[in-house]
């Protein structure tokens, strides 16, 4: 079939808006897409709607307290305000105690950050203030109610209540599914991939699972959280670019990398990201919810 580049949407049944100026996105060809997007975003409400497309994230560490919550904060507090939920893969929530053999142990899903905060500040405020545990819990209780266990998560169950509770990052995750899972330790990555297999992949929904290896202390969690935000921004940029292309008609116009879909770009994005953060060894796979 003869192809007319000026009629990019000839394959779809979209009613033809009158000719430009200003050009609506449907009629703009792939070639001038990049240069005109900026203008279009402000000019066109429909385009603004597509641009608000965001990947949905999930951060995971062992206790859903330090590393995953730092990343949760970074992702939900970013200018893009990503939809984000967070989990721990351990059997119990373990926080440092007065000595290495006396950790403070709580159960997942039923203890709130606030409870932990109150209990520990009652026990020994000086100790837990100085080792940063209280600061951490204070941050966490402003983000969401309490630590959740990954293995108990049922993907696809709506999380509307989290939205009403005011959890940060809850906007966009009402459907209970995510596009990207980022773990903070190889053991957690193994646990997540294994658990997704056990869950039976019933939703048929693809999910990219990354690991970014972060040491479990406050400083590293902060550096790691920023690096995760960087990764998230790069991934989202690619996803938005894919979303903006209307149909594969526009898509055949581009050449080389421009034709690649978001999914295909993922290994490349991770490799580029890894060059910048050689101290945070990363890992990735494509799994199913």
């Amino acid at each position: 079939m003869a192809y007319d580049p000026r009629r990019a949407n000839s394959g779809t049944s979209t009613p033809q808006p009158p000719p430009p100026p200003p050009p609506p996105p449907e009629t703009s060809t792939q070639a001038d897409m990049a240069s005109t997007t900026q203008a279009l975003e402000t000019a066109n409400p429909a385009n603004a709607a597509t641009d608000s497309y965001k990947l949905k994230f999930c951060t995971v560490c062992a206790s859903n307290n330090n590393r995953s919550m730092e990343a949760h904060l970074q992702l939900s507090g970013a200018p893009t305000a990503f939809p984000v939920i967070s989990f721990g893969t351990g059997s119990l929530v373990r926080l440092p105690g007065p000595s290495i053999t006396q950790p403070n142990v709580y159960s997942f899903n039923s203890t709130s950050y606030n409870q932990m905060y109150e209990e520990l500040s009652g026990k020994d405020e000086r100790l837990y203030r100085s080792n940063g545990i209280l600061n951490m819990l204070d941050r966490n209780r402003q983000l969401k109610w309490g630590p959740e266990r990954f293995q108990d998560w049922v993907p696809g169950v709506p999380r509307v209540d989290h939205l009403s509770k005011g959890d940060k990052g809850a906007v966009g995750t009402e459907g209970g599914i995510v596009d990207i899972i980022i773990t903070c330790e190889e053991r957690c990555w193994d646990a997540v991939v294994d658990d997704l297999m056990n869950k039976g992949t019933a939703l048929n929904y693809p999910v990219h699972v990354f690991n970014v290896d972060i040491k479990d202390n406050h400083e590293e969690a902060l550096t790691g959280g920023k690096a995760i935000l960087d990764l998230a921004n790069r991934l989202n940029e690619a996803a938005v670019a894919e979303h903006r292309i209307h149909g594969s008609e526009g898509w055949e116009n581009g050449t080389g990398p421009a034709r690649q879909s978001f999914d295909e770009k993922v290994p490349e994005i991770l490799a580029d990201w890894q060059e910048k953060y050689p101290n945070l060894p990363a890992l990735w796979t494509l799994a199913w919810l």
């Binding site: 979209t14 709607a49 169950v157 297999m197 209307h246 594969s248 290994p267 796979t285 494509l286 199913w288």
Partner: protein, 747 residues
């Protein structure tokens, strides 16, 4: 121009509000889904189609919406999906969501159609299955031309179809609603779903799915997506599990990567390796005694040593943490094993006279080398040594062995030199107080001197061994007959133990090797399960053949069972424990019995020729007894679907006898198994000419005795014995019977 745009924005906002409603309360789903279908269907704008497809994917994946409601919504939704696909749709996002929806819908529609056999002619069911099939064909046909994200979802769709169209476990036949959706829930005579066709299709699709592991250059996305969706198949579909695992075990990601090894390729290869590992670990965790467990372990270890991984880690990994981040951080430590082993530092041999302990001492630590291991109790040593041996690194071991070998060679060279010098010295100066006990039998000669020199040499090396002197085991006390029997039985029990052990060892390897051997195979040469069962059967038949006769002739009427009988008894029980799985052991055994009977009849005949006037040696025939006993044993447990088991047994036993056919005929007593009986007899009639007459007689009997068998048995008789008198009499009697029995013959 802003008009249509605003319209779309408004509509999307309304749709989003509707979505919030159903997320809050799943009860609204039916209303909303039916309401939005016309708004987001084939003829609407891209934004709306995207929204709709996404919403449908979410709806049919949602665990909140009951299966029954999803089934009700399915027909309308299917129609919409088909229309959108036939546009043809080209937007990646829409396609992706539609394929996801189809994957969720497939089991629902399948189950609905499979369960409604009573409404065979229900046009609604027929139509939704037809639409579903059309969607399936469309997806499969276009899969390879789809953009990558859609292709991934297609792979998942294929996995779903395979899972549905492969027989699964029936957990409880009395409660069909609780069974998982699989081919096993489809009735055999379903009007729309033909089991063989569906099975064939799913087998083809599984090959297509696994084909991704054989590509020249792997697509990491597709490989990972496939690996990650295989676990449920392996777990719930026994019949294809081993095929899938083998396909994964043949796949080495590093081999499928082409240089240059850019960072992107490294990421891809590493991700495939780790995902394959995760899958196998998932299987092993579920079933640590899996028959392929050994191969899976080896595969995992080999992946850990992958060269790409090694270079990758060396350059990228930061140093080990100063202290473990928590008490149980062994997972990361273990990775050290993957590094190439360090070169072993071999110190020169300790000075002083050569001894075995010096020869083998490869450490310079005096504390270690002077430690007397004999102080430790033997079981403690075992506890330490066995795990140590399993962890010995190959290359370290070969380095150490090489070191010891070169040491040994230098020592022997030196000693040869010394010996020559000593001989020269001995020739000049005879000095035999070296060996006071040595009494030469002959006159001392050069030869004996040489021997003594060598002996001296050996004595130097092995003082303890030489001083031990010859050791003769004392004669064992004579065994009583009972003891001998007891020991014999325990030996047999151990062979049975091997049979059980071999059963759990890898099966496919066995299959391959046997195929290769073909006729060149010797019984018992492969040390697999079959070999052990041949060994047992021969132990029972050939080895003690004739011994029973001796006992009888001696008039030895003790009731003690002979070893052969006890082996037979045990074999019999062993087979009956799982006669479907162990049928081939039964066949091997019966063949041996039959052959043994022949041989003994022949030798008995020879004996008779030799000693004519003597009493005729009788031969106790075992084949008939045991064949009928086995058949009796499992006939009771056969159900109407076991036709393959029975036919295999009947066709592979060496001889079909009248008692056997009678046993088979008795199956017809049970109305459910009439067909089983007639079909197996028909098989014998068709493919076992020597037994044909016998079987036709039996079929006649069956025909006469059991009325339920008439339709099937009648067909056999009209084909193979049209002149049969039974048919005529039955034909005459038929009119009365058809009047007498309309109620029972039409269930």
């Amino acid at each position: 121009m802003a008009q249509p745009m605003d319209n779309v924005v408004d509509q999307v906002a309304q749709l989003n509000a509707a979505r919030s409603l159903v997320l809050g309360d799943a009860a609204f789903y039916p209303q909303i889904v039916n309401g939005i279908l016309p708004l987001v269907g084939a003829s609407t704008r891209l934004e709306l189609r995207r929204w709709g497809a996404n919403f449908l994917a979410e709806t049919f994946a949602s665990p909140m919406l009951a299966v029954a409601q999803k089934e009700q919504l399915a027909p309308n939704v299917l129609q919409t999906i088909r229309e959108i696909l036939e546009l043809p749709e080209t937007d990646t996002t829409v396609l992706q969501s539609l394929v996801q929806t189809s994957a969720s819908l497939y089991p629902l529609v399948f189950r609905h159609v499979a369960n409604n056999t009573d409404r065979v002619n229900n046009p609604q069911d027929g139509k939704s299955w037809e639409t579903m099939s059309a969607i399936k064909q469309d997806i499969l046909r276009r899969m390879d031309s789809f953009p990558c994200p859609v292709k991934l979802c297609c792979a998942k769709f294929i996995q779903r179809v395979v899972q549905v169209q492969t027989p699964g476990l029936i957990s409880d036949p009395r409660r069909p609603d609780q069974n998982e959706t699989s081919l096993a829930v489809v009735p055999r005579n379903h009007a729309i779903l033909s089991i063989p066709n569906l099975e064939a299709e799913s087998s083809g699709l599984l090959d297509r799915l696994l084909g991704v592991f054989q590509e020249e250059t792997s697509d990491a996305l597709l490989v990972n997506a496939t690996l990650n969706c295989l676990a449920p198949l392996i777990r719930t579909r026994q019949s294809v599990a081993n095929k899938i695992i083998n396909a994964v075990l043949e796949f080495y990601p590093a081999k499928h990567a082409r240089p240059p090894f850019t960072p992107t390729i490294r990421v891809s290869v590493k991700s495939m390796e780790r995902t394959a590992r995760a899958l196998l670990i998932n299987i092993l965790k579920k079933n640590p005694n899996h028959p392929l467990a050994g191969r899976m372990q080896m595969y995992i270890e080999r992946l850990m040593q992958s060269r790409l991984e090694a270079t990758d880690d060396a350059s990228r990994k930061r140093g080990l943490p100063n202290e473990p981040t928590d008490g149980l951080d062994n997972a990361k430590r273990a990775r050290l094993n993957a590094l190439p082993p360090p070169m072993l530092k071999i110190p020169p041999m300790a000075p002083g006279p050569a001894s075995f302990d010096r020869l083998f001492t490869l450490t310079e630590d005096t504390g270690l080398s002077s430690f007397d291991v004999k102080q430790l109790p033997i079981d403690l040593v075992l506890k330490i040594v066995v795990p140590l041996l399993s962890q010995v690194n190959d290359s370290t071991l070969s380095q150490a062995v090489d070191a010891v070998r070169t040491r040994y060679q230098t020592i022997t060279k030196e000693q040869n030199l010394q010996r020559q010098q000593q001989q020269k010295a001995a020739a000049q100066d005879e000095d035999d107080d070296y060996e006071p006990e040595y009494q030469p039998m002959d006159v001392a000669s050069v030869v004996s001197e040489e021997a003594s020199a060598v002996a001296a040499e050996v004595a130097d090396l092995q003082p303890e061994l030489v001083s031990l002197g010859p050791f003769v085991l004392p004669q064992p006390p004579p065994l009583s007959e009972e003891e001998a029997g007891e020991i014999g039985r325990s030996a047999v029990a151990r062979v049975f133990g091997m049979l059980n052990a071999a059963e759990t060892s890898p099966a496919p390897a066995k299959g391959q090797s046997q195929q290769k051997l073909g006729f060149a195979r010797l019984a018992g040469s492969t040390f697999d399960r079959d070999a052990w069962s041949v060994l047992l059967a021969r132990l029972a038949t050939r080895a003690p053949a004739g011994l029973e006769n001796d006992q009888q002739t001696k008039g030895d009427v003790r009731k003690q069972t002979t070893i052969a009988e006890s082996i037979r008894e045990t074999l019999y029980r062993f087979i009956l424990e799982d006669f479907r799985g162990r049928l081939n052991i039964a066949i091997i055994w019966l063949n041996e019995e039959w052959y043994n009977d022949r041989i003994r009849m022949k030798s008995a005949a020879n004996q008779r020729d030799d000693s004519e006037e003597d009493s005729e040696p009788t031969v106790a025939l075992n084949y008939d007894t045991w064949a009928t006993r086995l058949l009796d044993g499992f006939l009771a447990y056969l159900d109407s679907r076991d036709i393959k088991v029975l036919v295999r047994f009947l066709s592979e036993v060496p001889e079909v006898t009248i008692p056997i056919t009678q046993r088979v005929a008795s199956l017809a007593k049970d109305p459910e198994r009439v067909n089983l009986c007639v079909q197996s007899l028909m098989y014998l009639v068709m493919f076992r000419p020597p037994a044909r007459e016998m079987c036709l007689n039996t079929v006649e009997d069956v025909y006469q005795t059991y009325e339920e068998s008439r339709p099937a048995a009648g067909k056999v008789l009209t084909k193979w014995r049209p002149q049969s008198t039974v048919l005529e009499t039955a034909a005459n009697a038929a009119p009365e019977q058809s009047e007498a029995k309309p109620v029972t013959s039409e269930p």
